[in-house]
């Protein structure tokens, strides 16, 4: 009678220790749901969704505070991807948060810039370089086109220039077809 009890107790102790160790060793860093939502957001960091960046919006979606149709840069395709991930019904973009616009980059008119550094402070991805009282400039490759540097500029010398497709990023268009195509 005693031996089975002892055996079971020691087994329980062993498994308990194992589980305890595993829970420490394999602890999840961060919240995987937030990471997966964030991975689907376009990372423009424009704040049009009503949150100060894509990650805060991802957190708000995960907590159920925000809906999935608030990100204009992501467009309808972005809403669909979020709906797929979260197992919800896709819905049209909420027009309150603005419309999807063409990709663009900010360009500073360097002749007018007074070097006040306000735009640097507004840029969410550190795409502007400059120093106090010096001319500022945008690193085009880093700019996400979020428009956030426009309002703070006291002399209105920043302009958003739409991206013009060139031969380098051209790709073959969708063929024109007469019928809608069915499942093979």
């Amino acid at each position: 009678m005693l031996i089975p009890i002892l055996t079971l107790m020691s087994l329980g102790l062993l498994f308990g220790l194992g589980l305890g160790w595993a829970s420490v060793r394999f602890r999840q860093q961060g919240d995987p749901v937030i990471d997966r939502i964030d991975a689907l957001l376009p990372q423009t960091q424009c704040g049009q969704c009503g949150y100060p960046g894509c990650r805060p919006y991802a957190e708000a979606i995960a907590s159920g505070e925000a809906d999935i149709n608030q990100c204009p840069p992501g467009g309808e395709a972005g809403v669909r991807a979020l709906a797929d991930l979260l197992g919800r019904e896709p819905k049209p973009l909420n027009p309150e948060h603005g419309e999807a616009s063409l990709p663009s980059v900010a360009v500073i008119d360097e002749a007018i810039c007074i070097g006040c550094t306000l735009c640097i402070q507004a840029c969410p991805v550190d795409a502007i370089v400059g120093a106090p009282k010096q001319m500022h400039t945008v690193i085009a490759a880093e700019c996400t086109g979020c428009d956030l540097c426009l309002p703070p500029c006291p002399v209105d010398c920043i302009e958003m220039v739409p991206h013009r497709p060139g031969a380098t990023d051209w790709h073959w268009p969708r063929p024109m077809t007469a019928h809608a195509g069915g499942r093979p």
């Binding site: 990372q43 423009t44 031969a167 073959w172």
Partner: protein, 523 residues
């Protein structure tokens, strides 16, 4: 596994194998092989695009008004992402401006416009006569300087391919002369007229990548080529090179298909031929390498086939890069009266342009002009009947009907997983589809879309990283500010306490003094 493959591929060319699918197509090559290759007269203007391959646009390094000599560098790719561009003849730079690029998009882009002075005067040239004593990396550097790209159609920068090869230890160099697409005969004419140059280029390439042997593959229908190459190989002092005739099945000249025929092994999906010990180069690329190393002539001209029933005198020409296509057509007798469509490349993999003002670029292997009755009248597209013909002929062993459905419905991840990236856009599936579905067009579109998505994803990941870095920096700065404030407060508090203590001490001292000075109350 990989080692096994490397060993198996050593026997390349000793026995011929098969690749899956493919088509036997009518050749249409004789018409452009009747006349010898000729050089058209110098055009009045050369427009040399600064984007010569699928990669980046390079920076112009000449100013308008500047005089350039033949072979001068005019666009500097710095051997990184772009490919060097050279002045095709001597003359004056008229402008650096936007012109048609000869690109499938039909778009304009930055070009250097040169007005030739007619002297065709070379810059000083320093051939690397001692190439046999140079290290492979020095030769690759020289190839990069000469702006050489793969001339078979893919226009991948040759130096990048060789870099890959040097790292991967190549045992066999394969020269691809199996020009399988109908109508195109520029490689065939080159092999007939310049066999020695090709062999010289092969020796340089073989030395540069440290390969043990070289195999030249040609199609079994190229009798004249075979004779010319055999004669050149038999000459005393020529390198020992194996000539292999492969059956003419389209798309035999595809890199992966040719390797499969020569070795019986497949290049792994997503991998490179160098993974199994092979490096494949087009014969024209080998000739360009010989020019660059032995004569210090950068890549500034190429053989172009001008053919089709829409041209009066089909032939091959040796055209300078930047020559307007209209000039080539004129040199070949002009358009036939019922010419209807201008195609760059062959009928299977080419693309049509709507203007002959586009220039010849390094990628232009063929200018094909078709007549009204040759243009397949656009048959009405019908729904797929799942006949499986497309899968039977696909040399990449894909399931085109499934890929088509996935692309059409925007299932990009599924299409990627089904091997869309392995499609070589050969058009075989298209050709046989009884429902006239433009399958290859869908796959070109789909591959472009996958690339664009990948680019977007990378840009988003980059922006996310920068955003998080900035957030972390702001948080750190805020914490530091808070810490400084706290320190100041503490210091102030300490200050106040000390002052209170001092005041208390002063007070005590004052009280003591006043107590001392007061006369002792008398007893």
């Amino acid at each position: 596994m990989k080692q096994d493959l490397r060993r198996l591929t050593r026997a390349a060319g000793t026995r011929l194998h098969h690749f899956h699918g493919g088509l036997r197509l009518r050749h249409h090559k004789q018409q452009s092989c009747r006349l010898p290759v000729a050089r058209p007269p110098l055009p009045s203007r050369l427009t040399v695009p600064l984007q010569q391959h699928a990669g980046e646009t390079v920076a112009a390094c000449v100013q308008p008004g500047q005089r350039v000599l033949k072979g001068d560098l005019i666009g500097d790719g710095e051997c990184q992402r772009g490919v060097n561009v050279h002045a095709p003849t001597s003359g004056h730079v008229e402008a650096v401006s936007q012109h048609l690029l000869g690109h499938p998009s039909g778009l304009a882009g930055p070009c250097v416009v040169i007005r030739p002075d007619g002297a065709d005067q070379w810059r000083a040239r320093q051939p690397l006569d001692d190439w046999q004593s140079l290290a492979g990396s020095e030769l690759v550097q020289a190839i990069c300087q000469a702006g050489i790209v793969g001339l078979g159609g893919a226009v991948f920068p040759t130096h990048r391919k060789m870099h890959h090869g040097q790292a991967a230890r190549i045992h066999t160099l394969i020269l691809n002369g199996a020009e399988c697409e109908p109508f195109i005969s520029c490689d065939e004419m080159l092999m007939r007229e310049q066999p020695r140059k090709i062999l010289a280029g092969a020796r340089v390439l073989q030395h540069a990548i440290g390969a043990e042997r070289t195999v030249i593959a040609i199609e079994d229908q190229m009798g004249a080529v075979r004779e010319a190459l055999e004669a050149a190989i038999a000459e005393p002092g020529a390198a020992a090179i194996d000539l292999v005739c492969v059956p003419a099945i389209y798309p035999e000249g595809g890199e992966r298909q040719l390797i499969q025929v020569l070795t019986g092994q497949e290049v792994p999906s997503g991998g490179y031929p160098s993974d199994i010990g092979l490096l494949c180069q087009n014969v024209a690329t080998a000739a360009a390498v010989a020019d660059a190393i032995l004569e210090d002539r950068p890549l500034l001209e190429r053989y172009v086939t001008v053919t089709g029933s829409g041209v009066r005198e089909p032939r091959n020409v040796l055209a300078l890069v930047g020559t307007p296509i209209a000039d080539l057509i004129e040199f070949c007798g002009g358009y036939a009266p019922d010419a209807a469509r201008l195609v760059i490349g062959g009928p299977m993999m080419g693309y049509s342009l709507d203007s002959d003002a586009h220039p010849v670029v390094k990628a232009t292997n063929c200018v094909l002009v078709l007549c009204h009755d040759e243009i397949a009248s656009p048959q009405p597209e019908m729904p797929c009947i799942r006949c499986g013909e497309c899968a039977r002929v696909c040399p990449a062993q894909l399931l085109p009907q499934q890929l088509h459905w996935q692309i059409r419905n925007g299932l990009w991840e599924d299409a990627g997983a089904s091997g869309l990236r392995d499609c070589i856009e050969c058009g075989c599936c298209d050709f046989v589809c009884p429902s006239h579905i433009p399958l290859a067009q869908w796959f070109r579109h789909g591959k472009g879309e996958l690339r664009a998505r990948r680019r977007q994803q990378l840009a988003a990941d980059h922006a996310r990283e920068r955003y998080l870095t900035r957030e972390a920096r702001l948080a750190r700065q805020q914490a530091e500010r808070a810490e400084r404030m706290a320190q100041k407060k503490r210091a102030l508090r300490d200050d106040a306490a000390r002052q209170r203590k001092v005041a208390a001490a002063i007070g005590r001292a004052a009280r003591k003094r006043s107590a001392d000075s007061e006369p002792e109350p008398g007893p």
